[in-house]
């Protein structure tokens, strides 16, 4: 019997979390968001999602097979990358560009560093930033949501020939008699035309033919599910949103005619998707408690600064990538304090006992012999 014994060192029990489980639940929580996106934009969005996710998975498989990176496609992380990437590009993004972007996301954003866990930058955002720099026109070309016939007809740009410029969607939109809303995003409308969309419409994404992503409220709800089950660190979105909200409020109070109201800023563009699903990518965010707050705060601040003051209407992606780059530095300055490292001057108020010698408790009793004075040395004499 002793021959069959197995040795493994402590601890011998495990908590109930595993990488696959966490990732799987993130995919579950993304499904409603994706479904809504498809509901908004029809088969183009669906095709884009399928193509991009498939590319990510194939690329991951290729690099795992060739031994370049660790992990496997069954850990679902590449699925998350694909879905988030698809949610963050326009629904009519040409499918061939989707393939390029998905490949870059995994190859450059993940495999290059050795695969899951080792990447410094958020892979989906590396892919998207590459696409934004490579195909800036296509990635800024949104179409309006809830177009009639969206479930039977592709947005023309989706089916562009590989390597070729996608056809203009303007003509196509004219056919739909919707040329007045040629697909400027609310942020673009604000930045270039000074039009501030209603925050309520933005929250629900249901305000008619708007060029927006899935409803921020839906994203918050799905994120809340993840946070409540501890699959996601709630502090990061909390930090991002409060820092962005704070900066936006201060600027709004300073000059309400020049800056949009904070609610517009919070619910427009990709801020919610970024704060809840992208900034929270654990691999690329700090592990330390203070670090998490600094990281989230930095993202919120940079997002607002880029949106309000730079040439681009949207800055969430760049803010997160920059914070990813700063993550090792942030972690370095926010290492946790070792228990007992800082001499605690004051005891916690909630403590039941004080360390002061409790003179009042010195009461004689029959059963217990109470020493009269404190013994200072009770070691037996050395022999």
């Amino acid at each position: 019997m002793s021959a069959t014994i197995e040795i493994r060192s402590a601890p011998h029990v495990k908590g109930g979390y595993s990488v696959e489980k966490i990732m799987r639940h993130v995919v579950y929580s993304l499904l409603p968001v994706c479904a809504f996106f498809v509901f908004q934009y029809g088969i183009s969005a669906l095709a884009s999602m399928v193509v991009i996710t498939a590319t990510c998975l194939l690329t991951e498989r290729f690099f795992v097979r060739t031994g370049t990176q660790s992990g496997s496609i069954s850990d679902f992380s590449a699925t998350i990358t694909g879905l988030l990437l698809a949610l963050s590009v326009p629904p009519g993004f040409p499918l061939w560009m989707g393939v390029v972007t998905g490949f870059i996301a995994i190859a450059l954003g993940k495999a290059l560093f050795g695969g899951i866990g080792f990447n410094v930058f958020n892979p989906a955002l590396v892919g998207r930033a590459f696409a934004q720099a490579a195909f800036p026109t296509a990635i800024a070309s949104y179409t309006a949501s809830f177009l009639p016939g969206r479930f039977t007809e592709f947005i023309p740009s989706s089916l562009a020939w590989p390597l070729m410029i996608p056809p203009e969607t303007a003509e196509w939109l004219k056919l739909k008699q919707l040329d007045a809303l040629a697909g400027a995003t609310p942020l673009g409308q604000w930045k270039f035309e000074g039009i501030v969309a209603s925050a309520v419409d933005l929250m629900t994404s249901l305000g008619g033919h708007m060029a927006v992503g899935p409803s921020p409220l839906l994203i918050i709800a799905c994120g809340a599910y993840l946070a409540s089950r501890r699959f996601m660190d709630w502090r990061i979105p909390a930090a991002v949103i409060s820092s962005a909200g704070l900066v936006a409020s201060v600027l709004y109070a300073y000059n309400p005619s020049h800056f949009p109201n904070p609610l517009f800023t919070l619910f427009s563009g990709g801020l919610m998707l970024g704060a809840i699903y992208m900034a929270t990518d654990m691999v690329t965010s700090p592990v330390t408690s203070r670090g998490v707050w600094i990281y989230g705060g930095l993202i919120g601040l940079l997002t607002v600064v880029i949106r309000y003051f730079s040439g681009l209407p949207e800055g969430v992606m760049y803010a997160i990538l920059f914070a990813n780059a700063a993550m090792p530095l942030i972690e370095r300055i926010s290492q946790p304090a070792v228990f007992g490292a800082v001499a605690t001057k004051k005891a916690r108020r909630s403590a039941a006992f004080s360390l002061e010698t409790p003179a009042s408790t010195l009461r004689e009793s029959k059963d217990v012999v109470i020493p009269i004075k404190v013994v200072s040395n009770n070691q037996p004499p050395k022999s």
């Binding site: 800036p136 026109t137 800024a140 070309s141 303007a170 040629a182 400027a184 270039f192 035309e193 040439g311």
Partner: protein, 231 residues
Amino acid sequence: MSTEIPVSVSKTTPTVAMVRTLGLVSAVCGLIIVGAYQSTFDAVADNKRIALERAVFKVIPAAKSIVEFLVLPGGAIEKKVGASDTAVGALKFYAAYDDTGKLAGIAAEGSAKGYADSVRLLYGYSPDCQCIVGVGVVSMRETPGIGDKILVDKAYLKNFVALDVKLNAELSALANEVKTVKHGTKTNPWQIDAIAGATITSRAVGRAINDSAQALLPKLVPGLDKIRSKP
């Protein structure tokens, strides 16, 4: 470049030798440089002149020759002579004349912040129609393929066939500010229809023209008659 400086030298060379070598090198190099400078001087000057002429001719199609002028802060217009420093606050412009020596148009520079850096451009002003008749870029660092569409986009260049920059009644400012509007929403002759996808650069062009014209034209127009014919 690593210029490793020997800290301790075991055997020091006499100072004379060092000075001698440095002198020799300086002499040789001085000769080479001066030679190169002299031999290319004319070609470079020619190149620069040709480049300037080409730029001006491009924005004022009828032009055949140009003269450089300054508008002094007081409003006086005088011909620019030599490479001397321009007086503070003076505005530079080029008057272009046709082959008969008649004023064909005015060219001036403007600049504004674009997507990546400032966009510097040269625009041609026609006193006859009181409008901008051409725009060319002097320098920019806009994104190739996006921002640099302002050079080639046909629909965009149509904006500058006759962009209205009339002065108001008091001749103190433009009657209507030059303004860049979102692609497809141009309604007035003083508006610029932006390029979709390059709104930022398009607006920089509009701002550059507006800022420069607002400063130059109110001073230039009253004195236009003085330069009607080639000096």
